[in-house]
Amino acid sequence: MTITYVLMQNLRRNPMRTLLTCLSFALPMGVFVAAISLIVAMVKLNALNAAQLRLAVQSRIALVNALPERMRAEIEALDPDKTRIRAVCGVRWFGGRVQNTPSVIQSLGADVDTFPLVFDEIGWTDAERESWAKDRQACVVGTNVAEQYGWKAGDRITLESSVPPNLALEFHVIKIVTTEGRTNSLYLRRDYFEESRRTAGFVTPGCNLFWLKCSDLAALRALQAEVDPRFANTPNETKTMDENAFMANFAQAAGDLPGLMRAIAMVVVFIVALVAGNTMMMSFRERTRELAVFKAIGFQGGRVFRIVLAESVILALVGALLGIVPTAAALLAFPLKRLGFLPLSSLEVSPIAIGVSIAIALLVGVVAGLLPAMQAYRLNTVAALRKIA
């Protein structure tokens, strides 16, 4: 009689309970794996951004305050021998939307010369770099945006800006960006944007933000400390942040979803642990006599201990899988693209999240089974056999 056989018999003796336990495990674990996936995606995105060594320089007062174009040269002058700053790219919010649709696309005008340098991770081919440099109406579109509107490279599109002077401009899609973390925005050429603004009577060009691409981490830290003092007591005081700190300002717009997810994940683990513990204790109590018989016919305490513990762990694992698989499938079938901000919009169940979930399930299974298993181990055979169940 193998331990596997005993286990299978045990799980089958009360199929209803096995099923209920698995399900009460599966549902919260389904939520858990999604929450963990989101957290993992956040951490990954942060790491990706951090690896890009970019600093964001904005007005100290408000992002909407445009900074004059000349500040780019002033920032570049902080590093005259070009050892610390790779490139500086000014960007201006365009906030375009397709006519007669309510949602504003994350769209920004970027400096034509430095944009490919500062955002080099989006994988430029020589041909793309050339069309960006030559075509004034060029725009680079994140794949999530492109999919939503059915655009592909080579398309001509018209976007209406949601900021004054509400220009409707035509663009050529020269590149679809699939790089992780860059899939939700659209970049156009700021020179084209500024010229159109000038025609509409808005004669002062400017940038909401300057992106600094630094050569290494030490340079980034040093520059972060240098930029703000450089513009202190000028009409354009600045606030300099690394990319993740800058992005964190916007994550809040989603009602702090990542924070919420963390809280939910913790609650889920707690609930699942309680449910599993409850079940294991119930089935142990029911089987006290049986375990006593096992011991009476010569099973060692250690072996009985393992039988009880293994049952708990198997229940937890099966339950976890029942939750993880449907969640992963659901997210693949119905991505949350509509929610529009990263990383939620491209959320999928990641291998790391599955690993973490299974590890948590294992842990919960062990913890829940430990007490009953200990009781089984210490079971006083004679007393248990004497008792009439």
Binding site: M16, R17, L20, T21, L23, S24, F25, A26, L27, P28, G30, V31, A34, R60, I61, A62, L63, V64, N65, G95, P102, V104, E160, S161, S162, V163, P164, N166, P235, E237, N249, F250, Q252, A253, A254, G255, D256, L257, L260, A263, I264, V267, V268, F270, I271, L274, V275, G277, N278, T279, M281, M282, E286, R338, L339, F341, I388
Partner: protein, 390 residues
């Protein structure tokens, strides 16, 4: 004949651990549900309570919010002709030109985390046009003086906004304004704002045009013709009732609330299974007892009812517990960044009667759903067999 409630009550304490664990599961789920819904209710209240259906917000077509709209003087001149505009006692048209700007103000107790707060430059007329805005402390800023009134929600969430304190505002953040008044707006979005005299705010923020015009109408019947007129070729601007404008700002929040509701729903189903499990154990452990009850004359229905009552009892008690715990979060101050205006809205968590009702409904459903199958099994028990078995 129905089994006495005291039977159920005493039964709860027979399997203390098992009942206790189920109790905690339900209580935790209720707690999470209540807190999440309080968040949602707080945000929604701050937006829905804003504005009057008789006020139209006039914006530049294509602008998504006041902060991205600019109106030229000649455009405002055309709005004056709108039919149905209400008048003040002195005959003045109730049309308020306003400038919406923003400035970084630190959150209370978090000096290093400034929030983008909406600053509104208004004329004296605005206090009458926004009829749900009431001064509760101090006075309104004097026209022509560097003074501001602050919303109650803003004052409670952001630093340096107490009466007589001075706050640096402006495009360069170098103009000192004195806080002279505090206003309320039925908890609406305007309460998260700072209001100052329009010429001063415009000058400090280097704005020579206004952002929006708020038009107060005489009655509900005037809304449709007025909107049609402003959108027509005669004016060529965009108008919508204030209530609708603020409702659109909540669209994203509604999505988030829906998402969390789905998550809570899934966990509630999980909880129902947990409850079912406990009740199964209760039934299994009590086979002889049930058979005895049947023998002395209790009907199947009475037995089923008794189990359902027991389960609902656990769940509602847990619900009370969870709700009590969630009261601790009630009134907590939070803020969120609108992705349309890019300014923050301060709000407080609200545990509304609706949420309490939802929590109770959930726990009763979980209780009944969890007990149904085990109770039916109890009822189907063959009395003779159960009694015979030792």
């Amino acid at each position: 004949m129905i089994l006495p409630l005291s039977y159920n009550w005493r039964n709860l304490f027979v399997r203390k651990l098992s009942t206790g664990l189920t109790f905690i599961v339900v209580a935790v789920i209720v707690l999470v549900l209540a807190v999440l819904l309080s968040f949602a209710a707080g945000i929604r209240a701050s937006l829905v309570a804003t504005g009057s259906p008789l006020n139209l917000i006039v914006l530049k077509p294509g602008a998504t919010a006041e902060s991205t709209s600019i109106l030229q003087p000649e455009e405002i001149a055309r709005v004056v002709q709108t039919p149905g505009v209400a008048r003040q006692a002195d005959g003045a048209l109730m049309i308020s030109s306003e400038v919406a700007v923003q400035s970084a103000i630190p959150r209370l107790g978090q000096r290093d985390r400034p929030a983008n707060v909406a600053i509104r430059g208004v004329d004296v007329l605005a206090y009458a046009v926004h009829d749900n805005v009431r001064l509760v402390e101090g006075r309104w800023p004097d026209a022509g003086k560097m003074e501001v009134a602050v919303g109650r929600a803003a004052q409670k969430r952001f630093a340096g906004l107490r009466l007589n304190e001075s706050i640096a505002l402006g495009r360069l953040g170098n103009r000192d304004y004195t806080v002279v008044g505090v206003f309320e707006a039925d908890g609406g979005a305007l309460e998260s704002e700072v209001w100052g005299p329009r010429p001063q705010i415009q000058d400090s923020f280097e704005r020579d045009v206004v952002s929006s015009v708020v038009v107060r109408l005489g009655g509900p019947a005037d809304v449709e013709p007025a909107v049609a007129y402003i959108r027509s070729a005669a004016v060529q601007l965009d108008a919508k009732p204030e209530t609708e404008y603020y409702r659109e700002l909540t669209a994203k929040t509604t999505e988030i609330v829906m998402l969390t509701s789905v998550l809570i729903g899934i966990m509630a189903v999980g909880a129902a299974f947990a409850v079912a499990n406990t009740m199964y154990a209760a039934v299994d452990g009590r086979r002889r007892e049930i058979a005895m009850l049947r023998t002395i004359g209790f009907s199947r229905g009475a037995v089923v009812l008794s189990f359902v009552i027991e389960s609902v009892l656990i769940c509602t008690l847990a619900c009370v517990f969870g709700l009590t715990a969630s009261v601790g979060f009630n009134g907590m101050r939070q803020d969120f960044l609108s992705d349309t205006t890019w300014t923050v809205l301060a709000y407080e968590l609200r545990l509304t009667p609706g949420i309490v009702a939802w929590a109770f409904a959930l726990s009763v459903v979980v209780g009944v759903a969890g007990a149904a199958a085990p109770a039916l099994r109890a009822a189907r028990l063959r009395v003779i067999d159960a009694l015979r078995k030792a």
